[in-house]
Amino acid sequence: MSNETRSTGGLLESGLEGLSHNFFTGTLEELVKWARRHSVMPATFGLACCAIEMMAAGGPHYDLARYGMETFRASPRQADLMIVAGRVSQKMAPVLRQIYDQMMEPKWVISMGVCASSGGMFNNYAIVQGVDQIVPVDVYAPGCPPSPETLMHAILTLHDKIKNGELTRRKGEGAGLVVEQLGPNGPVPVTLGQG
């Protein structure tokens, strides 16, 4: 473990820094990352065309189960990964955010398809121009819709991210995105990932 070179955020900084050099904690960190990598349970969050391809990726030809991902959790409380598969409408956006908030840390988001990533070809009143305005996105999968192979590549990229990232990445720092949410007294800026 070469933990000296990187800053360990959150948990390890709160009085446990010295331990990060320790063989035991270093190995434990590796173990936890290994476990998280191999047990990413996605939330069933299908929206549009991409959802079909997402489900197809779970089918016999592609089989997400190989990564231990066939366990799509219907309850966001038990899910680790939200695959935003499809276009997010203005009406759906608050619901999406709510489901993201209901997920437990650590959680990741894959923005699947161009509509989720940037609004795609639907640059109009109805579609949120990029889901990263609502939730912090870890991996963007391009395509309209991305083929299952693309989704699998995105998932492998996410695995890499989990492997090389911080153990307690989001504590306090968040994605640093500021969005305006409509409160009862007009727009309220909210920094995502805090609190």
């Binding site: 939330a43 069933t44 969050f45 299908g46 929206l47 549009a48 065309c49 959802a51 079909i52 391809e53 489900m55 197809a56 779970g58 089918g59 016999p60 030809h61 799509f72 219907a74 309850s75 966001p76 409380r77 499809g86 276009r87 409408s89 203005q90 009406k91 759906m92 608050p94 619901v95 709510q98 489901i99 209901q102 070809m121 639907f122 640059n123 109009n124 009143y125 109805a126 579609i127 309209c144 819709p145 083929s147």
Partner: protein, 444 residues
């Protein structure tokens, strides 16, 4: 939706406001009658019955299903009023996938149009492209070449097969037969392979365009079709063994969510749902488009209008589509795959290298698009879900003045309150599944 979402205290957070299903005691008698009768007129006798059925609020519970729920096929949201496990009332709430496609369609040229509409019914994208193209061709008053017609038929029927296979998969999943889901995906993948060979894309093909199709069938396409035609019958027989011959499956579907032909007509319900009631109506045969009048096939009808009939009809329609595909294979004429009308069709690639005019022409068609004479037209086709219509108003420019798609799922969804009245929660899932709504098409 799970967790915190369904409690009335949180209603305002989702900004649903008046779309909320209010408890039975508050609802005015008239509205209650409408809901109970699923927007059908009730007889005096029925009205009295409904009056007597009034239950106190203490016994019922309003529960929210969706928009994020494993079996609402995407983002359909249902408010259910339950008494125990029995559904008393149901209100579908849609719009969670509203994409503004009809508005976007007004901003795109006629040539770009199919790219837009293909994303509506993402299980059967070629059908929306076909409806759009046929409408534009009607406005232009042009006839596409024979070969284009037959290619369109071949491709849409292949798409119908893949769409129905998708239904088999999701229907199985909703009833807890997880293996069926995986088998459905397996076969669908084979159908998609052919579509990909021809169009280059697995979904959202943008293949059928005004004036013909985007490209000719590739070499060896016959092998692709034959492979699928050989592969499917034994697999469908497997479905038959796995599902139809199994008591639990029949028990779960037979007699559930029954609807009559009169109710279907009143609600505007079309497609397999209408046919499941025994009403013999299929646009391919009764108001033929393309070359369906030259083709032999049977219109499959049910007799009880229940979930099982809707399932069985779709299974049988796969066989019928295979019949049609086989005939397309035999009768495929030679010739152009798109109309050789300078106004509508870009010049072939080879000519662009040789001629400056061709290059300019090509450029003009793809930037400005072609102009369509003023007028309006409505063309309907039979999609896997019912009558899929496209209504276009042209003001003489190169973009539609108004483009409206009559989506079968949108209309079919209206039958949900009626189908669900008095059923159980588990039936509710089976009923949603058997209506086979594609939310992209519902919300557009």
């Amino acid at each position: 939706m799970t967790a915190t979402h369904e409690l009335p205290t949180n209603v305002n957070q989702t900004s649903e406001g008046a779309q909320e299903l209010t408890s039975a005691g508050v609802v005015a008698a008239g509205e209650r009658l409408r809901e109970l009768g699923a927007v059908l007129r009730l007889s005096e006798n029925d009205a009295l019955l409904a009056e007597r059925e009034q239950v106190s609020d203490d016994e019922t519970m309003i529960i929210n299903m969706g928009p994020q729920h494993p079996s609402t096929h995407g983002v359909l949201r249902l408010m259910l009023e339950l008494q125990g496990e029995t559904v008393l009332r149901c209100k579908p709430i849609i719009g969670y996938l509203h994409t503004g496609m009809e508005r976007t369609g007004e901003e795109l040229t006629y040539l770009q149009g199919p790219t837009n509409v293909t994303r509506m019914d993402y299980a059967a994208p070629l059908f929306t492209e076909l409806a759009f193209s046929l409408t534009v061709e009607k406005l232009l008053d042009i006839e596409v070449p024979e070969r284009a017609i037959w290619i369109r038929m071949l491709m849409t029927e292949m798409n119908r097969i893949s769409s129905h296979l998708l239904f088999m998969a999701t229907n199985g999943m909703d009833l807890g037969a997880v293996s069926m889901m995986l088998y459905g995906w397996r076969e669908r993948e084979e159908a998609l392979r052919f579509l990909q060979e021809v169009t280059g894309l697995r979904m959202n093909h943008n293949y059928i365009r005004p004036g013909g199709v985007a490209a000719d069938l590739p070499d060896g396409w016959r092998d692709g079709v034959l492979r699928l035609l050989d592969m499917l019958p034994p697999r469908l027989a497997e479905y038959d063994t796995l599902m139809n011959q199994q008591p639990i499956w029949r028990e779960r579907l037979q007699g559930v969510g029954a609807i009559t032909a009169e109710e279907c007509l009143a609600l505007g319900v079309t497609g397999p749902m209408l046919r499941s009631t025994g009403y013999d109506w299929d646009l391919r045969r009764d108001m033929p488009y393309l070359a369906f009048d030259q083709i032999e096939f049977d219109v499959v009808v049910g007799s009880f209008g229940d979930c099982f009939d809707r399932y069985a009809i779709r299974l049988a329609e796969i066989h019928e589509s295979m019949k049609i595909v086989r005939q397309c294979l035999e009768n495929m004429p030679k010739g152009d795959y798109r109309i050789q009308d300078k106004k509508v069709t870009p010049p072939p690639r080879a000519r662009i290298d040789e001629s400056m005019e061709a290059l300019i022409h090509h450029f003009k068609i793809f930037t400005e698009g072609f102009k369509v004479p003023e007028g309006e037209a409505y063309v309907a086709i039979e999609s896997p879900r019912g009558e899929l219509g496209c209504y276009i108003v042209s003001d003489g420019s190169s973009k539609p003045y108004r483009m409206h798609v009559r989506a079968p799922s949108f209309v079919n969804l209206q039958s949900l309150p009626h189908l669900m009245h008095g059923s159980l929660v588990a039936d509710a899932v089976a009923i949603i599944s058997s209506v086979d709504p594609i939310l992209g098409e519902v919300d557009r």
